[in-house]
C-alpha cells in the first residue's frame, strides 16, 4: 500500500485530536486528545521514515513515546490535584482568574 495514505490518516487523526482539545470540557478527555495528536505525529514520522528509507523518523517516534509517557505522569498529577480540590475536572469551572 502506498505509504502516502498513512500520512493522510495521520493528518485526519491530528485534526480529530486538535478539534477534541478545543471542543471537549473534561480535562482528562482534553489530555487524551493531545495524546491522540502525538500519536498522529508518530504515525506520520514512521510513514515518512519508510518513504525515505532512513531511520531518523522511527527513532524520533520512540522518543515521542517516552515523552508522552512522561507527560502523562505530570499531567495526571496536575489534573488529579485539581480534581481533588474542586471535585470537578471540567476546564470551564477553572476560571478563578477570568478578567
Amino acid at each position: 500500500m502506498n505509504p502516502v495514505n498513512y500520512l493522510y490518516l495521520a493528518a485526519v487523526l491530528f485534526a480529530i485530536g486538535a478539534s477534541g482539545v478545543l471542543i471537549r470540557r473534561n480535562a482528562i478527555v482534553v489530555f487524551m486528545c493531545v495524546e491522540l495528536m502525538l500519536n498522529a505525529c508518530n504515525l506520520s514520522l514512521v510513514a515518512f521514515s519508510r518513504m525515505h528509507g532512513n531511520l531518523d523518523g522511527q527513532i524520533l517516534a520512540f522518543f515521542t513515546m517516552v515523552v508522552a509517557a512522561a507527560e502523562v505522569v505530570v499531567g495526571l498529577a496536575i489534573i488529579v490535584t485539581l480534581f481533588r480540590s474542586r471535585h470537578s475536572a471540567s476546564v470551564d469551572d477553572a476560571s478563578l482568574m477570568k478578567l
Binding site: V34, M37, I78, I79, A94, M97
Partner: protein
C-alpha cells in the same frame, strides 16, 4: 531428520552482530549541561535518602554549587574560544556549541541562580508552628483546606523537590537554544516544560489559583508541543533528515546527491511551509507572542511568584535562542515567507501587550502583559535578519531577564494577611511607607519602560537599530509607539506608589533574608550597569553573534 535440521525449517541463524561503534561525545563541551542534569539527579536522591529537616540546606547548597559550576564551565568554554574560533557541533550533530549558545546558556544559568535564591527565601511567610516556611506548598498532594493539609503544615513540611525540578528545567533550557537537530529541540522543550508545569502548581497560598494555572499551562503547553511535533514530522518528510544543516541544504536547494525517495518530497513546498509554520507556532507559544499568548497572564498570576520570575526570564531566553537558531540556520532560505508573518506577529504582540496591560489591576498580570509586549520588541530584532539582529537580541535577553526576576522578587515582599498583596490598589502609597522597596521597584519599572540610563533603554535601542538596518523601519515606528503606550502604565504604577496616600489597612513590606536581597541587588546592579555602561556587554554579544552550521 535430525532435530537441528527440523529446527532450521523455521529458524535461521542470525547474522553475527556487526560491531556498533560507540558514539563520540565531547564531554568537556557538554559539561555545563551535564553538571546541571547530574545535580538534578542527585537532588532526587537527596529527597529519597536525606532526613527531612536537613533536605532544604542540602538541596540549596547542591543547586547553587551546580549552577555556579555550570556557569564557570560556560565561561571556561567561552574563554578558550569555543564561542568563536573553535565553535563546533558536538554529540554526533545533536548540539551546537557556539557564540549564541554559550551566551544564552550563561544568561540562563545566572538567571536560574538568582531566582533560586528567591525559591529558597524563608523569612517572608509568617512562622507556622515554629517552623520557617518558603512560598511552596507543604504537601502538594493534600487538597487545600483538608485535614491532611493542616497536618502537613503543622509538621512543618516543605516541598524541597522544587530545587531538583528547577535544575531539570534549567538543564532543558540550556539544551534548547543549542539544539542542532529537531529531535533535540523537541526533547529539550519537553525537559524544561514538564518541571515548569509542576512548579506552577506548588504555591503555598492561593492554592486553587495555582493549581488552575498549572492545568491551563499544562494543557495548552502540551497542545502546542503537539503542533511543534507535527511540524517536525512534516519538515522531516520534506528534507529526509532531522539535522538543521541537512534541512537548510534542502531548503536552499544546494543538495549535492539527491536520493530518489527524497526527490518526491523535497519538491513539495506544502510540507515545508506547513511544517515550518507549525514549528514556529510551537516556539512562539513558549515565547508568549500574540496570538499564542493567552496562557501567559493566567499562568504568571497563578504560579508562585518566585517561579513566575524564573519562568518569565529563563523560558523567554531559551525560547528566543531556539527561535533565532531555527530561523537563522535552518530557514534563511525561506525568509521571504516567514518574515511577513513575523512582522504581523511582532506588531500585534507589541501593541496588544502594551494596550491590554493598561487595563490590568493585578501587578502580576500587569507584568505578564508587559512581558508579552517585550516579546514583541525582541521579535523586531529577530526579524532584522542580520548580525546586529542576533547580537541585539542576545543583549536584550540578558538585560530583560534580570529586570524581570528583580521585579517579581519585589512583588514577593509586599504582603498582607492573605499572602502577597498583588492588587494594584494595595500598592498605593508604598513609596511613603517603605521608600527603598518602592524606589527599587521604580528602577525596574523604568527599565521596563526603556528610560535612558537603564538596561531597558540600551536593549531597546540595540534591537530597534538592528531592525531599522534590516529594513524593518515600520516595525521600529510601531515599537516606539507601543513603548510610549507601555511607559504610560509603568509610570502610572510609580505615581501610585509615590504620590498617593497610603491606605490605613494597606500591606506591609516583609524584610527578606540575604537571599532575596541578593537577587534584588543583582537585578538592580545589572539594570544600572547595562544602562550606564553597556558597551562591554554589547561587544560581548557582538562577538557571540555567529551561529555554527
Amino acid at each position: 531428520m535430525s532435530a537441528s535440521a527440523v529446527h532450521s525449517l523455521w529458524t535461521t541463524a542470525a547474522e553475527p552482530v556487526s560491531r556498533i561503534d560507540a558514539p563520540h561525545i565531547e564531554y568537556g563541551q557538554l559539561s555545563p549541561i551535564l553538571i546541571v542534569v547530574g545535580a538534578g539527579v542527585l537532588g532526587i536522591l537527596v529527597e529519597a535518602f536525606v532526613a527531612r529537616r536537613a533536605r532544604y540546606h542540602v538541596q540549596l547548597f547542591l543547586s547553587v554549587v551546580a549552577l555556579a559550576a555550570a556557569f564557570a564551565a560556560v565561561v571556561g568554554l567561552a574563554v578558550t574560544g569555543h564561542g568563536s574560533t573553535k565553535a563546533g557541533i558536538v554529540a554526533m550533530g545533536a548540539i551546537a556549541v557556539d557564540g549564541p549558545a554559550l551566551f544564552l546558556q550563561g544568561t540562563i544559568l545566572l538567571a536560574g541562580l538568582v531566582s533560586l535564591f528567591t525559591f529558597a527565601e524563608r523569612r517572608l511567610d509568617p512562622v507556622a508552628h515554629g517552623k520557617q516556611v518558603d512560598s511552596f506548598v507543604a504537601q502538594a498532594g493534600a487538597p487545600p483546606g483538608s485535614k491532611s493539609e493542616q497536618a502537613a503544615v503543622k509538621a512543618g513540611f516543605t516541598t524541597t523537590e522544587v530545587f531538583p525540578l528547577a535544575l531539570f528545567a534549567v538543564a532543558g533550557m540550556l539544551v534548547f537554544p543549542a539544539a542542532n537537530d529537531l529531535l533535540t529541540l523537541f526533547i529539550a522543550l519537553e525537559v524544561f516544560s514538564l518541571p515548569l508545569y509542576l512548579l506552577c502548581a506548588l504555591a503555598r497560598r492561593k492554592r486553587l489559583v495555582s493549581q488552575e494555572a498549572a492545568v491551563k499551562y499544562f494543557l495548552l503547553g502540551a497542545f502546542s508541543s503537539a503542533f511543534l511535533l507535527f511540524g517536525i514530522a512534516l519538515l522531516y518528510g520534506y528534507a529526509g533528515t532531522l539535522s538543521y544543516a541537512g534541512i537548510a541544504e534542502v531548503v536552499d536547494g544546494t543538495v549535492t546527491s539527491i536520493d530518489p525517495a527524497l526527490a518526491d518530497t523535497m519538491g513539495n513546498d506544502a510540507l515545508l511551509l506547513i511544517g515550518a509554520a507549525m514549528v514556529l507556532m510551537g516556539l512562539l507559544f513558549k515565547v508568549g507572542a500574540v496570538p499564542f499568548h493567552m496562557w501567559t497572564p493566567d499562568v504568571y498570576q497563578g504560579a508562585p511568584t518566585p517561579v513566575t520570575g524564573f519562568m518569565a526570564a529563563a523560558t523567554k531566553v531559551a525560547a528566543f535562542g531556539a527561535l533565532l537558531r531555527l530561523l537563522y540556520v535552518v530557514l534563511p532560505g525561506l525568509s521571504w515567507d516567514w518574515r511577513p508573518v513575523l512582522w504581523g506577529v511582532a506588531i500585534i504582540t507589541m501593541l496588544l501587550g502594551a494596550i491590554v496591560a493598561i487595563t490590568q489591576t493585578d501587578i502580576k498580570r500587569l507584568l505578564a502583559y508587559s512581558s508579552i509586549a517585550h516579546g514583541g520588541f525582541i521579535l523586531a530584532g529577530v526579524i532584522a535578519m542580520n548580525e546586529a539582529g542576533i547580537s541585539s537580541v542576545l543583549f536584550y535577553l540578558l538585560a530583560y531577564s534580570f529586570v524581570t526576576i528583580g521585579a517579581f522578587s519585589v512583588v514577593t515582599l509586599v504582603r498582607d494577611a492573605g499572602g502577597e498583596a498583588t492588587h494594584l490598589s494595595k500598592w498605593a502609597g508604598l513609596g511613603r511607607r517603605s521608600p527603598l522597596v518602592a524606589a527599587v521597584f521604580a528602577v525596574f519599572l523604568l527599565a521596563f519602560a526603556g528610560i535612558p540610563l537603564t538596561s531597558g533603554f540600551a536593549g531597546k535601542f540595540a534591537v530597534f537599530k538592528a531592525a531599522a538596518e534590516g529594513g524593518a523601519g515600520a516595525l521600529v515606528v510601531v515599537g516606539v509607539i507601543s513603548s510610549a503606550i507601555a511607559a504610560f502604565f509603568y509610570i502610572r504604577v510609580i505615581v501610585l506608589m509615590f504620590f498617593s496616600e497610603p491606605r490605613p489597612e494597606g500591606p506591609t513590606v516583609a524584610v527578606p533574608s540575604p537571599l532575596t536581597m541578593t537577587t534584588i541587588g543583582v537585578g538592580v546592579a545589572v539594570t544600572l550597569v547595562l544602562g550606564v555602561a553597556p558597551q562591554y556587554f554589547l561587544d560581548l554579544a557582538n562577538q557571540a553573534s555567529v551561529f555554527v552550521r
